[in-house]
Symmetry: C2
Subunit: 94 residues, 2 copies
Amino acid sequence: MAEDNVIYIGKKPTMNYVLAVVTQFSMDEGKHAAVVIKARGMSMNQAIDVAEIVKSRFVTDTEYDDIKIGTENLQNKEGKNKNVSFIEITLKKK
Amino acid sequence: MAEDNVIYIGKKPTMNYVLAVVTQFSMDEGKHAAVVIKARGMSMNQAIDVAEIVKSRFVTDTEYDDIKIGTENLQNKEGKNKNVSFIEITLKKK
């Protein structure tokens, strides 16, 4: 899957990401018709909220193709390694 | 699946729930050998952390059988309805 199909959840309000996912779906019409929502650590809650809002209110002809969770090893500001959980939610057109 | 196989994530430290899941697996030996980790709203992050820690460090012969996300309609203290996302992670012995 192309990288431009991925929406990374950061520190913006939930509705910003909902809009980003909806826009991605409308641009992809007839191409891949799938969007991956990715988040790490404290943003994982929000990734789930974004996916649920898109699916129930905006692009209702979608379903979850895959939900993956795992652990990534990251370096923090002090150069120390830290394990951080991540989630990847693949939402696709039915 | 029996209800006693479900661990609900609340406001305790992550390691309390890790221990609860590990204990559940050790009690279930030979019975169902699967534990469901459930969480709502802000606790969903922690549910993912708990699952990842159990799987990578404590009960390493497990895999994700199912990861489900969805929305529940709850009543808050003021009696208003509110949509809250949830996650259900099923971890089972390989």
